[in-house]
Subunit: 319 residues, 4 copies
């Protein structure tokens, strides 16, 4: 059974999904009013303002949806209490912290799963499948555009607030640790909090990735583009019915000319993407991992890879 801690913004959604999956047994928040409100919706769940009480209970898994700066400490306590952990993104703010959490989880064979919602989006799954099936040919470049979305944060910059989404997806798609992480940007609105950030990553295989992250933009974009040597594919989360578009577009060397390359354009296809709710799929995955299915080590390690890249990008951005 599952306990959810932090019931302010996203926590209630997690609680609702675990309740619908018949797995919610505890809810926890420091704020009594929020707790009361959540109790009204989930009367059968035990409620507490004491995190320690939750950890002392018989819940198997703890779901952490508290403010970002508390993620690491709360996750560590939960793991040390022998609980499986699903922790909202980012699970930690420093590479050292996430590596420590991964170490504890590995030692005790516990689940440490970051809440990278987009990884459970059927459209992103389609991209992963296209890549893994070799449909795109060698992947050369992946890039994300996340612009003009959401509330401008004053305590979290665009890299951590927006970039964590694209980065988790791009590392999931490429399944590789970047060897080069460069970031540039500026803090136009709040001093010290970058609102426009550009990131460049290079991988040992030679692949490259890029992110354009911005709160200040006329274009509303949530888009990930994958350039393969044989096909290219775009995931556009602003589209209602055309989430994934596959382009038979590829460079080819003209035999009749002086070795010049051209771009060949062919069919375009827009496969029907299932409308399954990503959050439900994410919650099911956590339950499956707890039940011993899937590769819990890889899930934890993949999560750590994202934090390490964020940490290095932050260093580059500040440097």
């Amino acid at each position: 059974m599952i306990g959810v801690v932090g019931l302010n913004y996203w926590g209630p959604n997690l609680a609702r999904n675990f309740a619908e999956l018949g797995a919610l047994s505890w809810i926890c928040d420091l704020d009594e009013e929020r707790l009361a409100k959540a109790t009204a919706r989930h009367p059968s769940a035990a409620a507490t303002t004491e995190y320690a009480e939750l950890l002392a209970s018989d819940v198997e898994g703890v779901v952490i949806a508290t403010p970002v700066p508390t993620h690491y400490a709360l996750a560590k306590q939960a793991l040390e209490a022998g609980k499986h952990v699903l922790v909202e993104k980012p699970p930690a703010m420093r590479a050292a912290e996430i590596d420590e959490l991964v170490g504890i989880a590995a030692e005790r064979d516990l689940v440490l799963m970051p809440g990278h919602l987009l990884l459970y989006h059927p459209g992103i799954r389609k991209l992963k499948q296209l890549i893994d099936d070799g449909e795109l040919g060698d992947v050369l470049c992946v890039y994300g555009n996340r612009q003009n979305l959401g509330i401008v944060r004053t305590n979290e910059n665009a890299l951590w607030s927006l970039g964590v989404h694209d980065l988790s997806v791009m590392l999931y798609l490429l399944d590789e640790e970047p060897e080069q992480c460069v970031a540039h940007g500026r803090d136009f609105l709040t001093e010290g909090v970058e609102d426009v950030v550009f990131c460049y990553l290079r991988f040992p295989s030679g692949k490259i990735a890029h992110m354009h992250l911005s709160w200040l933009d006329p274009h509303k974009m949530r888009r990930i583009t994958v350039v393969g040597r044989e096909k290219m594919v775009v995931f556009d989360d602003m589209e209602l019915e055309r989430k994934v578009t596959i382009y038979e577009k590829a460079p080819w060397k003209r035999t009749d000319s002086y070795g010049e390359w051209q771009t060949r354009s062919g069919d375009i296809s827009i496969p029907k993407i299932p409308t399954d709710e990503p959050l439900k799929l994410e919650c099911q995955e956590f339950l499956r991992l707890i039940a011993g299915e899937g590769d819990r080590r890889k899930v934890a390690e993949d999560g750590a890879r994202v934090v390490r890249a964020l940490d290095r990008l932050t260093e580059s951005l500040r440097g």
Copy 2:
């Protein structure tokens, strides 16, 4: 009167425009066949395969549309022969070379005008006017997207082939020399010739700029976006009738919350842009500069600024 040298790709367009303006008196190309073809169109223009003959003639201005690596040398000869020069972009491939050319032109008070066609596009003029009139408020960020366009070059990378367009526009709009020039990218198709390049520039005023340049992309884009503190504006050259879109979109600080910023969206307007042909306007500008109108020093210096930035970006890309 004007002489045009180099009649392979772009040269014939320049010759035609100067002819229509009644100013074409010489044409020159090493290739006799090309020269014959151009002569058929411009029977009243003198024709030669000898550049020296052109320089020895009484033409006032020389228009150089030869292959890029020859630009600097031919421009230098023309200036030294006392001719005004319009030279296709880029006018030189090294900062030292362009600075030398600017020096010669200044010394002899000659026109040295680079053929930055986009600067004469009525849509780009509109952007410049909006910025200079203060319509956008302080400009914070400018960025260009030039993706999936044209023939992939094997002897010129995406930075020099595609980026020169956006860079000339962005420096024209901001009218400032960048203090930081960083470029990243990769050569996927032809070794040593980058086909995907990302550039980041930072200016002394704090403004930033970015370019996404790529021959390998599913999206066909030719777009320049300007983010001002009060309005944002987009120039989209792939649009037929909506070249410029102005967004009343700006960050504002909510007074009722904890100092958080939000994005306020207002009216959108798409002004009618005149359909004047940029090349004709460019040719007219050259004639005007020769006639003593306008600021020929600034034109030369602006051109040099573009080459210097390209040179620094190249260094960063290779480094």
Copy 3:
């Protein structure tokens, strides 16, 4: 105070809105389960399965959200019981019926308001204002596209189910009774229930209108276009942020040619449209009319005009 009858689909939304306006005092439905569910949400409202009981109560206004075929009879009873009436669209299915209802309402000076939701959409209000202010010049033609939307009905054809929306808007915008009403279409899925319908209307002023209504279409459209002699304007309800677009596009006679007309294209503007919820505005309007504000006779007569046109179009369609 207000009583809402019919709590199946749309009724609960009406109940909620009147409750939020502090005006809901009765709820009524034949189905006890539905009634119980609504009572849980509105515990302070009296509940009954007997319409007669509602009519015998002291409610001032009755809101009818029952199945379409019952609208006329229930509205008639309510008016005869001296109640003001807001009745979902269409308020009746025959011209004779609506004329009778309008007569009763007029005689007793009661409100008879049809629930034409779109008339309260801020985007449609903007169109009306542009027309009434003369911004568009003489209006020549209005047409609606409502395609590929909603569930295909088996008991109501595309004209009554989809067309009622566009027709109410077009008659509201033109404020004129059509002199010619022609409809064509076919019943591809359910015999006798047209799923593709085209309607043409002509008005005494010479204006024309057209509707393309279809459940079988690849394009998802909810659009109303107004062609004025000086400007044209489009209301597109599928757009999130660009609901209304104004085109400075108009025919003009070239003076230099043989009296030929051309289309002149100018600026395009997309005004910011308030995001006020139309249903709330509709409910407020009903309360205002009850309170004696506005022109209740015109509201009833406008509603009748829509039913009369639907009746004539139906005759044409069948004939």
Copy 4:
């Protein structure tokens, strides 16, 4: 060999194409200046201002590109002179005239081919193939949108000037003579010349068709939509690279509900369409028909079907 008569607007394109196919031997125009200009381009073709001279020559085929009102008489003379005829659209303005031409052509076994350019567009060919291969299932409805395009004519209304394109395509796709032809519209700019026209057609098979034709419109559209029972397909001639889009969108009856229909949405595909020039294909077709390939009777009869439908629609429009 081929003679082209009428060298004002479209004629020169026909002449150029036949010249490129090595088949142009005569050119003819009443205007000496035009004739001289065409002679300069086609010096090897015989030139005359006398149509009789052309007819008396040994040309096998005559291509008529003169003003519309002259088409019938010139085509008749050519057929009577034993020449094969390619005549610009519409080949005649009355049903009786085209039937007469078809009769003469049939009697003498001559080619009578109307210049319906769109029928040779690879995108329209794709639609035809999809329909004939049964890919779309039963075709239910076809409709065309041709709005805001071209110069407003003062001597030809939107039906004849714009509608002839869509009508030729729709009759080609359905290959059936309509049993019902209804048209409505108005003449806003020039008295007696309708600039906005709506047409409805019904076929013996139960299929229906519709055209929305207008010079006064904010939307620039050139689009033909085919609704099949299993798939839907759109030809959009305003798109550069996405001319044809196929939607796996179809109605289906839910088994779990009360016989209600729903729309099922599946994959979307945008096949690569060859960029062959339609005019060249049209000219080649004429040469092939002359050479005895293809079914010349059907080509003439198909052309007549279009004129008959235009004639009936005109009667409805005026009636």
